[in-house]
Each structure stands twice: as structure tokens, then as C-alpha cells.
């Protein structure tokens, strides 16, 4: 079993920003609270899904709410562990390991805070392999894991428990509670056995994100020099293909808030101004890349925009006119290419009038 200590956290945060494909928000506060947790409680064991016993009891944990609220309503170092304590009392069973909702963004880190406080392992894997905007897009939900019994805790230790049939209804209820509790809560949900986890988790994404972050840090520099090392880490992983699909300058970017999502488009022109510009469609995340009529990559495959000079991933909110960027397309884990997964994450689920074609076939 591997360990996660202080030295891994910055790489994990950087890797998870890359895998957030433009979404996920600023990981600064989640990174700080995770550093505090490991300083307080010590390093955390990382357990591979295959090493879990089939009858082990695993619960995913993370934050739900408005990230901007935690700029004032700061998280607490013991909040995640106390959420697990309360969850155990609620269901009458000890939790053997915690898991992550999504590797893209700050929720890649919160299970580590819980694991540190509880002294239990964190599962090397997550429920998305990237960032996606809705809970029913989580692999756990797609694989049929029930969202409840679930428990949410606020900053003061107040608790709400949930019993719902579907993840959609659960998501609605948990969001109302988050608002009522000051805008940010910690939730334990989609609890499952080791056997269920093995068929629903996107495996090895935590250790992969650390490796990815390290690669980005050690190979900081222009995209052409970065692509080799990136392919070296992606090729043997659950993602596979990693392509450098475009380099150029952002010549237009327009987004607006629609139904709580940041929706819009960015246009990137080649540095020499030649040929057709690349268009990227945005809904919190980068979802679709099109060159003229030709689709270059689409959700659920990953589209990542980085600063051309340094390889630092650029968040969709921060992307702006004049940015010199490189665009990478990365194959998604096989789980998201199954018919069950495509029912909720295919391009049409985001309002694009096209069928999903895997990156390798484009």
C-alpha cells in the first residue's frame, strides 16, 4: 500500500486541475486544508481498488456548495472525519475506506482530509476520472450505486440525513441543504461495498494525478516539449491517447451564466494565422473542440487548455483574449464509453447535435 504525504499534495492539486478540463475552480483552499490535515494527523494510506475486500464498506466524501462561500466560511481540519463519524453512527457500520467524487478540482483532496483524520485508507480512484457538472454523471451513480443513505454536515457540526430513490432527487435535496447551511457542506454518499466499488470506480486516478502533476512540474515549458513526457504518463494509464491538437492564440472568448453554469465558446487561431481557427465549447468544462466542420475531440474525452509557454492548465473562467495556449485531447477511461455511461455524458446530454466518436477514431 502506498502513502500520500505532504510532498505529494501540490502535484496532486496540479494534476487535478489538468484533469478538471477547465472546471473545478481554484484548489487553493482545499490544498491548504489538506496540508493542515496531514500536518495534524500524519500521512494517509492509499489503497488500490483491487486490494479492497469485497465486503469492505466504502463511502465517497466531498464538498457540495458554492466554492466562493469557502473564501469566508473556511473549512475545518476535522470536518471531513467528523462527517464520517456521524455517517457511521447513522448507518451503524464502520467505514473501511473513503473515496473521491471527482478527481478534477478540489474534491480530489477532501477524501484525504477525511482519511487523515479517521486513520483509514483512501481509495486510489474516483467517480469521474475528470470533472463533470452533475452528480448523476458520476460512475458510481451510472453503475447503479444508490446515493443514500447519505449524510451531510455543516461547519458547526449540524447534520442532515437523506433517503432518496435517485441521484437526481438526491442532488436537488443536498443543494437546498447546502444553501440553508451557509453555502458549503461536507457529504458522505453513494456508500457501497468493496465489490460494488470495483465495478463502479475509475481506478488509480489519485496516484495518476500525482504522477501527472509531477510531470507537468518537471517538464514546465513549451507544449512541443511537454507532449512527449505527457504521452509517456498517459499511454500506460486508463486514459491512453494524449494528443497535442492545437497551438495558438485565443482570439475570442464569450461565456455567460445560464442556469448556474458558465456557458459559451472560445476561438483559438494558429500563431501564423493560417487555416481555420479551433472552436471550443464550454459549459463549466471544455466539452467540444471543432475545427471548421471537423470534430477534433468531444466529451466524455478530455479537452485541456494549457498556457503555451509553461504548460500550466488554464481554467475556463480565466481563459481570455490573447492567451497563447496549447490544446490537448485525451481519451477518457473505458467506463465512460459504455452505452450506460454515454446515456448521461454523450455530447447530446450537453446540447450538442452529434454522436460521440472516440478520440482514437477521429
Amino acid at each position: 500500500m502506498k502513502q500520500i504525504d505532504l510532498s505529494h499534495l501540490k502535484d496532486l492539486a496540479l494534476g487535478s486541475v489538468f484533469l478538471a478540463t477547465g472546471g473545478g475552480g481554484d484548489p487553493h483552499v482545499p490544498l491548504l486544508i489538506t496540508q493542515q490535515a496531514i500536518k495534524t494527523y500524519g500521512p494517509v494510506s492509499l489503497i488500490a481498488p483491487r486490494d479492497l475486500k469485497d465486503d469492505a464498506f466504502v463511502v465517497p466524501i466531498g464538498n457540495v456548495g458554492a466554492p466562493t462561500v469557502s473564501l469566508e466560511l473556511l473549512p475545518s481540519v476535522d470536518e471531513a472525519a467528523r462527517t464520517i463519524d456521524a455517517f457511521e453512527a447513522h448507518v451503524g457500520r464502520k467505514v473501511d475506506a473513503v473515496a473521491s467524487f471527482e478527481i478534477g478540482g478540489g474534491n480530489s483532496l477532501i477524501p484525504i482530509v477525511a482519511a487523515a483524520g479517521k486513520g483509514i485508507p483512501v481509495v486510489d480512484g474516483d467517480g469521474m476520472g475528470r470533472a463533470l457538472p452533475e452528480a448523476q454523471m458520476m460512475s458510481y451513480a451510472i453503475a447503479g450505486v444508490r446515493p443514500t443513505p447519505a449524510l451531510a454536515m455543516d461547519y458547526a457540526g449540524n447534520i442532515a440525513t437523506f433517503e432518496t430513490d435517485t441521484t437526481e432527487v438526491y442532488e436537488r435535496h443536498i443543494r437546498s441543504f447546502a444553501m440553508a447551511a451557509g453555502g458549503m457542506i461536507t457529504t458522505a454518499e453513494h456508500a457501497m461495498t468493496g465489490a460494488e466499488l470495483k465495478r463502479s470506480v475509475i481506478p488509480e486516478t489519485l496516484s495518476f494525478s500525482i504522477q501527472l502533476g509531477r510531470t507537468l512540474r518537471e517538464n514546465r515549458g513549451q507544449a512541443e516539449e511537454l507532449i512527449g513526457p505527457l504521452q509517456d504518463v498517459f499511454a500506460p494509464s486508463i486514459y491512453g491517447q494524449c494528443r497535442l491538437v492545437f497551438q495558438g492564440k485565443v482570439i475570442d472568448k464569450a461565456t455567460r451564466i445560464v442556469g448556474g453554469y458558465d456557458v459559451g465558446e472560445a476561438t483559438i487561431e494558429r500563431f501564423d494565422g493560417a487555416s481555420t481557427p479551433l472552436k471550443i465549447s464550454i459549459k463549466n468544462e471544455y466539452l467540444l473542440a471543432v475545427l471548421g466542420e471537423r470534430v477534433i475531440a468531444s466529451v466524455p474525452d478530455l479537452i485541456v487548455i494549457v498556457d503555451y509557454e509553461t504548460g500550466t492548465p488554464i481554467n475556463a473562467e480565466r481563459l481570455r483574449y490573447g492567451h497563447r495556449v496549447a490544446v490537448f485531447a485525451i481519451g477518457c477511461p473505458d467506463f465512460y464509453r459504455t452505452p450506460e455511461a454515454l446515456k448521461v455524458v454523450a455530447p447530446r446530454c450537453f446540447g450538442f447535435d452529434l454522436d460521440y466518436v472516440p478520440l482514437e477514431d477521429l
Binding site: 486544508i33 469566508e72 473549512p75 476535522d78 458547526a156 483574449y321 490573447g322
Partner: protein, 512 residues
């Protein structure tokens, strides 16, 4: 007539403006004690212009002294920090992400108390009187006089901060207190950081202001003195004794405002090329475009409103690779005069390229005669490309815009810039900062919580604007020139319907 002085880390600039006209200007090295450099610059411009002291109506000073004190970790006083926000943020104390040397320099006592508010106005927790009393007693016992107080969501409800301040002043009448809500915006840790930096600078601020005022008095300048803030407006020198942190980044602001004054261009890109970096900023309607990202000062995150500056590693002392393809970010800085090739040194710098290309006569031309002409041409191309690419990045929405070149390194631009619709090299560009300080205006800001249901929106905004205007007049603004530059309305949820927080900022010229 007025005097503008800019005290930078390396140079002290001073100008006398008669209306819009620069009638005297000087650029001198900043002295170790700062004040003798200021006095020397004053003597020089008074001599140049032969103006009598009594003709000078105001003196405006821009200074990086407080920024530099933070960056260099000096002149910082011991502080007590009170955070009001428990039970949120347990195990996330103030200064948790500060660099170790800065934590040691401030040597703070930290207190975390229950209280504060949520985004919707509900209390996080009730204030606990026993906690408050214990904290105040402990600070008094330890003899700490400089205190910072930060409470969760204090920009929306500052009552907990004010309450604590009152209690402290009762027990410690000579305490100097900084309240975080005076530093605006949301982001508890960033606002708290600003308050801590401010509080730890208070004794130094007292010293600096007194010595500035002393220098002016010694030279017979008995007119009012002002110091410029990061938003380009002025504070009375005495106000700085309580808010030194408000001077952070006034340097870039003054440079941008000075470039605007020198050209009269209300919308333009300003490129300030120094020895180590080129700082690219944007002026919109005559004022700096503000950054919307977190600003780092001395390794500490803050939420100050700062001009949006893109600094790239290209200046007169930047190192050039042998093939001319790589320039900077390393620079010999002020050691250019000993380390550059044309000065007999061993380091190839951009200044050497300039001389080798025949664009300038600095030092000895022979010492660069051996350079490969192709590499020289390549280096020039690299410099221009760096500037063009980065200017493009700063252009708002890709609009065609003129570029104003200021700073000592502006000579590096030999071939024009294709990113510029027009290139301006104004006279006196080397003292743009001092000119920016001299033309700084007076601001006034008022914030009120109002109900649009009780008062119609138009009337409500007008009443807040009127209050802000009165503040600006009181601070010395000419009523004829006052205009609103920023109106911010924030709906307050879960309160009386229509409840809105209205903040208005006005500015005007200093009354003559």
C-alpha cells in the same frame, strides 16, 4: 503649482507641474535613508524652476517604502491577530500559508474567536463574552499594541470587528488597530492578510510620514502633503499613519497615470521597460485597468485592487543567449554598469545588443564588435516578439490600441511594434511615475445597505453618491470636478426583499 515625488526602490523622481506643464524634472538615486534623496530631488527641481516655495500649493508623494518593507521583511512590528469565525476554520489559523521568514518577522500572537456572519446575514455563531475578555486581557498582559481584527463576511457586516476594537481600546487606550473590512472585498484570508500587513507596518508608517513631512518643512514647503494609493487617488499624509498598506502598488498605478497625462490618451497600452522587467498595463478612460486575480505581495496573498500588470523578463539588463533566441528572465539589474559587455564586463545583455546593432552609443562599441550579426539580429527579433506577443495578451477584446513606451529601457524598441496601432514615446517618459503622483486625484467612497422597496433605485443611488461626494470634498476635492467612477450594487439574499448593498466611489481634482 504642485510637486510630484516618486520614491522607488532604485530611483527617486521629482517634478514640478504648472497646470499641465512640466517645468522641472529630476531623477536621482534613492538614498539609503530615503529622506536625503527626497531632499536632494526637491532642491534640484526648486533650483531648476526657480519657483518660490510659496507658489507650490500641494506636494504629492508616491512611495514603495511600505511594499519594500514587506518584501524585505524589515521595519515590521510585533502584532496580535484576532480572527472571528469559529466554529468554521478550525485548524486553519491566520498566516497558515505565509512564508516562514515572514511569520518570524511579524512574530504574531493569534486568537481565534466564535462569531462572524454567513453570506446571507445569519450569524455563524454568537460572540462569546468570556472569549473576548480573555483575549483582550492576554494582549494587554503581553504588551502588544498593534492589532489586526478580521471577521467572516465583515464586508457585509462589520459589527464583530468594531465591537472587538472598542473592547481593546477600553483596555489598551494606545492600541493601534486595523479592521479587515476597511480592506473591502470578500476572501477572509486575503483580507485578513492585508490587515495583518497593515498593522505590522503602523509604527514604521508613523516614522516615514513624520520624516516626509519633516523634509518638506525643512525646505519651506508648508502646503498640504498627500500620498498616493494603489487606485490612483490620494490620502492625506496623516491618513497613511493608519493605512500604510493602501500604498501597495501605487508605483505601477502612478506610471500608468503618468503615461496617460503625458499623451492625453484615455485608452492605451502602457509598456514600462526597466532594467529587469517590462511591465505591461492598460489604461481605460484614463485609469488603470484593475486585476481580477489574487495579488501576491512578498509571498502573501491579498485582495487589493491592483492595476492589471503583466511583467515579463525583458529589460535593459536582461541576459541574452549566444544565439539570440533566449532573453531573460535573469538580469544583471543595476550591475549593468559593471557586468555588461560594453562596460567591460563579461555578460551579454540586451543593452549590448542595442550597441552592437548601432542603435545606441553606450560604453565601448569595440567590446561588442565580435558578436555575430545574425545573433544580434535574432536577439532584436526575439525582444520585439516578446513585447508584441505580450501586448496582444493585454489588449481588451483584440481592439486596435496605441502603445505608450515609458521607462529607461524604452530604447530597446528599435523597430516599432506591430501590436501597436501607433507607438508613442512621450517627452519626460522617464519621470512618468512622479507625474502620475502629481496628477493624482481625491476620492470618496460610501457604502450603505438600502431597500429598493422603500426608496426607488435611482433615488437610493443618488443619496449614496451624495454622501460619497461630501466625503471627497472634505478630503480636498474640487466639487466642480467630482464624478462617480464606480457604482456597485449587491443584492442581499434572505433579508428584506429588495435589500441591496450600494457602494459608490467618486473622484475629483484636488481643489487649488
Amino acid at each position: 503649482m504642485r510637486i510630484g515625488i516618486d520614491v522607488g526602490g532604485t530611483h527617486t523622481d521629482a517634478v514640478i507641474l504648472n497646470g499641465d506643464k512640466v517645468i522641472a524634472a529630476t531623477k536621482a538615486l534613492t538614498s539609503a535613508d530615503v529622506i536625503s534623496g527626497v531632499t536632494a530631488a526637491l532642491d534640484e527641481i526648486l533650483k531648476q524652476s526657480a519657483v518660490s516655495q510659496s507658489a507650490i500649493k500641494t506636494v504629492m508623494i508616491g512611495t514603495t517604502q511600505f511594499t519594500n518593507a514587506i518584501i524585505e521583511r524589515r521595519e515590521l512590528s510585533r502584532a496580535a491577530i484576532i480572527r472571528i469565525g469559529l466554529p468554521s476554520g478550525r485548524g486553519m489559523p491566520p498566516m497558515v500559508d505565509w512564508p516562514q521568514d515572514m511569520i518570524e518577522a511579524v512574530d504574531a500572537e493569534i486568537y481565534m474567536l466564535h462569531g462572524g456572519y454567513l453570506y446571507n446575514g445569519w450569524p455563524i455563531a454568537e460572540i462569546r463574552e468570556d472569549e473576548v475578555n480573555k483575549t483582550v486581557a492576554d494582549i494587554a498582559a503581553k504588551g502588544i499594541k498593534n492589532i489586526a481584527i478580521a471577521s467572516a463576511f465583515s464586508p457585509m457586516n462589520s459589527a464583530p470587528e468594531t465591537l472587538l476594537a472598542e473592547k481593546i481600546l477600553t483596555a489598551i487606550p494606545d492600541a493601534k488597530i486595523t479592521l479587515s473590512h476597511n480592506f473591502g472585498r470578500l476572501g477572509l484570508m486575503e483580507r485578513e492578510n492585508a490587515a495583518i500587513m497593515n498593522t505590522t507596518l503602523l509604527p514604521f508608517a508613523d516614522k516615514v510620514v513624520s520624516s516626509f513631512l519633516g523634509a518638506l518643512e525643512k525646505r519651506g514647503l508648508n502646503c498640504p502633503a498627500f500620498i498616493s494609493q494603489n487606485d490612483g487617488t490620494l490620502m492625506s499624509a496623516d491618513f497613511v499613519r493608519a493605512y500604510p498598506a493602501l500604498t501597495f502598488a501605487s508605483g505601477p498605478t502612478n506610471s500608468l497615470r503618468g503615461a496617460y497625462k503625458l499623451t492625453g490618451l484615455e485608452d492605451a497600452i502602457v509598456v514600462d521597460i526597466g532594467g529587469t522587467t517590462s511591465d505591461i498595463g492598460v489604461i481605460q478612460n484614463g485609469f488603470p485597468r484593475e486585476s481580477n486575480v489574487v495579488v501576491n505581495i512578498g509571498g502573501i496573498r491579498t485582495n487589493f485592487r491592483m492595476p492589471d500588470i503583466l511583467a515579463i523578463g525583458l529589460g535593459g539588463g536582461s541576459l541574452v543567449s549566444e544565439d539570440g533566441k533566449t532573453i531573460g528572465p535573469k538580469s544583471v539589474g543595476h550591475k549593468l554598469v559593471t557586468q555588461g559587455l560594453v562596460f567591460g564586463g563579461k555578460t551579454l545583455t540586451t543593452t549590448d545588443i542595442l550597441v552592437a546593432g548601432g542603435h545606441a552609443e553606450i560604453g565601448s562599441k569595440e567590446s561588442v564588435a565580435h558578436l555575430d550579426p545574425n545573433a544580434v539580429a535574432q536577439a532584436k527579433a526575439t525582444m520585439h516578439k516578446m513585447l508584441n506577443d505580450n501586448i496582444e495578451m493585454m489588449k481588451p477584446g483584440g481592439k486596435d490600441m496605441p502603445v505608450i513606451l515609458v521607462g529607461g529601457g524604452a530604447v530597446l524598441v528599435t523597430d516599432g511594434l506591430k501590436a501597436a496601432s501607433k507607438l508613442h514615446r512621450p517627452e519626460n517618459a522617464d519621470v512618468a511615475n512622479a507625474i502620475g503622483a502629481a496628477i493624482a486625484q481625491v476620492g470618496g467612497e460610501t457604502e450603505r445597505m438600502l431597500s429598493y422597496r422603500e426608496i426607488p433605485r435611482g433615488e437610493a443611488i443618488a443619496s449614496v453618491t451624495k454622501a460619497a461626494t461630501q466625503r471627497a470634498i472634505k478630503a480636498g476635492a474640487d466639487p466642480e470636478t467630482i464624478r462617480a467612477v464606480d457604482i456597485e450594487e449587491t443584492a442581499v439574499p434572505y433579508m428584506d426583499e429588495g435589500a441591496t448593498r450600494v457602494r459608490v466611489k467618486v473622484i475629483g481634482d484636488l481643489a487649488q
